[in-house]
């Protein structure tokens, strides 16, 4: 089992606002952990709090409450200068727009983090040349950001993120502003980095393609994780004290593990309904042994049809 690189527990973040709606709660006590070399995607609708989470995890933003441990150290309690040092050594960011420095050439943009880190110029220049070469943008090294295409700009941004040899890359919609072809090549690059250099990724995205690249994806809604997808889901990551959301349409959604624990889908009767309290109980009648959709017989306690995937009624 790889070492735990990033661990956040009980993150809350409130944006104060003087608007009529009052303060906005962007993160509602969520917890997440990331191992060394792991790629995790955070998906969810706009306004779910994805970017806020990313900033909080990367130390760009101090959460209102909760702890973020990056490479074993609590970054929420660090002094600014110390935080910069720690971040510089562990993490890099990639944004939707390249966010390149407009007055510096591609090469100088990539060189800048090393300048900040105090790497001697000679060594830095060599590393930059190597990095540009690795990302295939050596020819565009002296172009200014405004002269770069979207893909080139994003590659430059990636080069800038990688140049400090970070253990973790936090990416916010890295393919959000490029065309699908470029997006694919960027994701291929991510995959290569992930595999070859064992860089850990935490990618915030809307894109299925990006989510596919990740080892697992976390679904964020209204400042909470509501689901986790992936091959390698750690159940213990999911706290037993989770909240469920009964939405305005009256729908209650259970995550797969809860559903499984409950014994699968079925009919439930309301046993007890009081203000702020609901108790459900399964109607223990004869369950159909055949899929209602395709007539394939269920095998034992199966909750889903093995043939067509329909849920057992």
């Amino acid at each position: 089992m790889a070492e735990e690189l990033l661990k956040a527990t009980g993150l809350y973040h409130v944006f104060e606002s003087q608007a009529e709606e009052g303060n906005v709660v962007a993160l509602r006590g969520l917890s997440v952990a990331l191992r060394d070399g792991e790629a995790v995607a955070v998906v969810g609708p706009s306004g779910a709090g994805k970017s806020t989470l990313l900033k909080a995890l990367g130390g760009l933003l101090k959460p209102s409450a909760g702890v973020v441990q990056l490479a074993g150290e609590d970054i929420t309690r660090m002094a600014p200068e110390q935080l910069v040092q720690h971040r510089r050594a562990t993490v890099s960011f990639i944004f939707q727009e390249g966010n390149l420095l407009p007055h510096l050439s591609a090469r100088d943009n990539v060189l800048q983090p090393l300048r900040h880190a105090g790497v001697p110029h000679r060594e830095a220049a060599a590393r930059v040349a190597e990095m540009l070469d690795y990302l295939g943008i050596s020819e565009r090294a002296h172009a200014l950001p405004e002269q770069l295409s979207g893909g080139e700009a994003q590659r430059t941004a990636i080069a800038r993120a990688l140049i400090t040899r970070p253990r973790l890359i936090l990416a916010d919609e890295p393919t959000g502003s490029v065309d699908p072809v470029t997006a694919r090549s960027i994701m291929e690059l991510f995959t290569r980095l992930h595999k070859e250099q064992e860089v850990a990724f935490l990618v915030v995205t809307h894109s299925e393609m990006v989510a596919d690249f990740a080892d697992r994806s976390l679904e964020l809604q209204d400042g909470r994780f509501i689901a986790q997808h992936g091959e390698d889901v750690e159940l213990e990551d999911l706290a037993l004290t989770r909240e469920l959301l009964l939405d305005a349409g009256g729908n209650l959604t259970l995550t797969p593990d809860l559903l499984e624990e409950l014994g699968g889908p079925g009919r439930y009767e309301v046993r007890d309904l009081r203000r702020h309290r609901l108790t459900l109980s399964r109607v223990m009648d004869e369950r159909s042994n055949v899929c209602e959709a395709c007539n394939t017989p269920f095998d034992g306690d199966e909750t889903q049809c093995g043939n067509c995937g329909a849920l057992r009624g």
């Binding site: 606002s17 727009e97 300048r115």
Partner: protein, 995 residues
Amino acid sequence: MQAAAREFPDRTRLALLSAWRGRSRGLAVFAGVFLASLVITTVLVYGSGLMQIFFLNYLDDEYYDFRMDFHTDIGGKGRTVDVALWESYCAEYEALPEITDCAVAAGRQGGHGAGWFTEAYLKPQPLELQAWEGRDSDWSNVSVFLFEGNEEGPPTRGYRPLRLLGPSAYDGELAERHASRLLRGEWPDGGAAAVEQRSVSLPSQVASMADATVGDQLASLTFTYDTDASKGCQGEEVFWQQFSYCRVSVTLENLTISSIFDDTIVTSPITSQQPVFIPWELVPVENRSAIIAGDHAYLALTIDRTALPTESTDSAEKELDRIQRSLDSVALEGETDLDGTHVIKDLLSWLRIQNYFIQIFNYIVMIPIIVLSVSVLLYGLLLSLEQRRREIAIHRVIGGGPDALLRMVLGELGVLAFCAWLAGYLLALLAVPLILNAVGFMQFRPGEYDVSPSLGLLATLATLVVTVGLALLFGRSRTRDFLEQEISEGVQRVVVKPQPRYWLHWLLFGVGLIALADSYIESLANDGRLADDWEKGIISNPVLNGIFAVLGPFLLWIGGALVLARLGAMAPGMMQRLLGRTAALRDIGRGLRGSGSAEGVGKLALIMLLTLSIVTMAAVQGYTGMAVDERTASLAAGGDLKVEFQQPLDHAAALATVSVALEGTDVAASDIRLVSVPLIAMHPAGDEYSVYQTWVLLDGSREVVRWDRQAFGGDPGKTLDRLAAGGFSYGEQLEFSLGEQPQLMLNLTGGAPGQVTVSNVGEHTWHPGLDTDITAGGIFIGEASFRTLVGDGAVDAWRETTWFVELGPQGDAEAQSAVTRALAFDSSVSKVTSWDEEHREVERNGGLVFGTLGLLTLQFAVATIAAVASSFVFLSLVLTQRKRELAILQAIGASEWQVGRLVLFEIMSITVVSMLLGTLLGVGISYAFNGMFSLFGLIFQSFGGASTSVDRTLVWPWGELLVIGLAVLAVVMLALVWTTARATRSDLARILKGE
């Protein structure tokens, strides 16, 4: 440390690169530092240049540079009475490389280190002339007593001084210096020739009084010297002040006038009266010995003045001190101990005091422009750093620590500010000689001295520290703000922008308005448009009035700009309300409604107000200053010329004399007109004891005399009409006795039969060309009343000594000067004052305040440039800030033309309204500053010895202001077209994406 050194080239390259690539946003910073550096350096360099000019000017008036006196007072050690030994000492000093000439001389006794204004300073006495007798002309009326002797400078006994010059004063450097001042005749060629000719050199005033010319002989000349009375006084004992002297007289006979020199030099109070020069060797040896013993003798030394450092008076003084030390170290035969004094030492201390006052005033005058340049700098920084907010955020994300980022921003700022400082500094060095040549507002004439003013290392560093330091200091606090904001972004503390202190703005404005009202009311009262009761304005306490006069204008200016800028920034909204329903704005009205909120727009309005008000003020005060100079010249000269004759002459005789002097000029005798101001004594009918000195303003005086509004407080033509129609005006001192009397019945004094009734036309302040103090105690009447009194015959044959001359259409400066020269040598004329020379004198030596017009010209030029440059810079910054907004408008369907029109209307309305308000504010501060200018004018006039303060009635150069206004508008238009085109043509998608 080593690492820092290693990284230096890369970091410098990056700072330069960023500064260059981000030049458009850095332009405002550059402009601000540049202006601040230009102005501050100029004022400093100007001060040193002015000092040099004064220095060189006064230096020219001195014949020699050092005098060597006995170290001890009479009776002390280390002295000699041996004439031959004394005369041999010059050779010792001439052996020094610095000394170019040395001559034995005798004149005023040695001071032995007595300080200026100390008691001991009064003690040394000059060689004094007691009597002279002419052979070729009548010298009996030529007084050896100088009446003006006690009026200027330290008290002297008031007799014309004499100076004895040794043989080497008649060759070499000393001879050259004397020869250069001669008007007529030749400086004797060598000491032997001087003795042989029995040469005497006279000041032109003496020659003119005696009607003597070169070659004439003096039968005798008697002078006195004070001698060592320790062994009993051989002459007459004299007491003067608290000192006693033993005075011996010597008479020389058969002297020949060999030359006449110009004695009309500009004298500071410390330059002594112009002496008569006679060879030392004409005096018998025993007298010479007594003169040496009496401390009158000294050695006159010259140095190579061109080798004297002129970059500052301090360095000149240092060099002189050095030479003085080497002179003092010369060992002399007979153990005689001589002390060197450089003769300009006292001059320098006098100059310093004078220059000190001038500098204070100049700094005050330049305060607005310094405030302006600093505000351009600060607002420029604010806007340009605002644009870097995102960039700083990116740096933070990629690992830039707060300190490193601060260093980076300041590095860039430092590079930019340094370049701007250097540019401003160099331009100032180039501009100062031009400003020193200013003889009027926007008028220049090369002066006689070629000065190359420069700034010492310390002062240079000071300008660097002040300008670049200010930029870095402000940049640092602002960048810190950004860094802190970003760090605390997490908590998203809602940044509450401090509300501007509007109450303070209004308070400043209000106090300024009171000062303005005070100054305005005073000017109205002075101009006769308001009752005299208002002459002191609304603040009558002199101390309070002074404080208001000095501070009021600044408060009005800053407070007014802050208050009115809000009005300027609201202009687009007002425009929209006015024109919103017209075709021009109907489709873009909604876009206009929200504007005016951007920080940059408010700043643009403020800068426009600040600059335009200074432009207005500088132009108004500049032209007013020129008018004041002219008025001052008129006050002194009266007409084109003021000719004072030795004897009273009638019109025909005066005209004849002046006509003769016209020879060689283009002026025809038929063109000239002369008028005098007959002075008679009158008393009111029935009251023989109240005698009024009465001046008659003849009808011709209207054309000949240069009248102006201040003479009668209002239109002089009207008052002259009423005087001619049987009126009288009274001087200030008669206000209580005559002010309320509507009519006055006057009789000639001494029982003469004439009687006339005149009606009151009000108070007069002065008559050009007459002494204001005297006319303040008398009355003026017209020619008709005069004729009634004394009859036509007496009027037509009236004789006066002072005549005012108008030279007609050809009477330009050159003609005036030629006629003045010709008249000066006429024996019947005692003094000629030409308006043009008087004017030049006033222009050059400051008139009211030295060199202010040059500085106002600078202020005008700098403010104009600032108006143009800042409109350009701020526009492009404002539009860059709004690029996104404009792109959105385009994205939702606005055409380029509509967006262009929107920007045009918005910016133009702000600019036009701010410019109009700025001009209005300028009118206000012109009035307000007038109080301060008058105050300082008074100080400088009293410094210069003038008794009348010349009113500063404002002159309004609307034409020039209109041109400036149009020029600024044209530049704004150009900048708008350029920046709008850039904004609307750039890649919409990219802007909207936020790249």
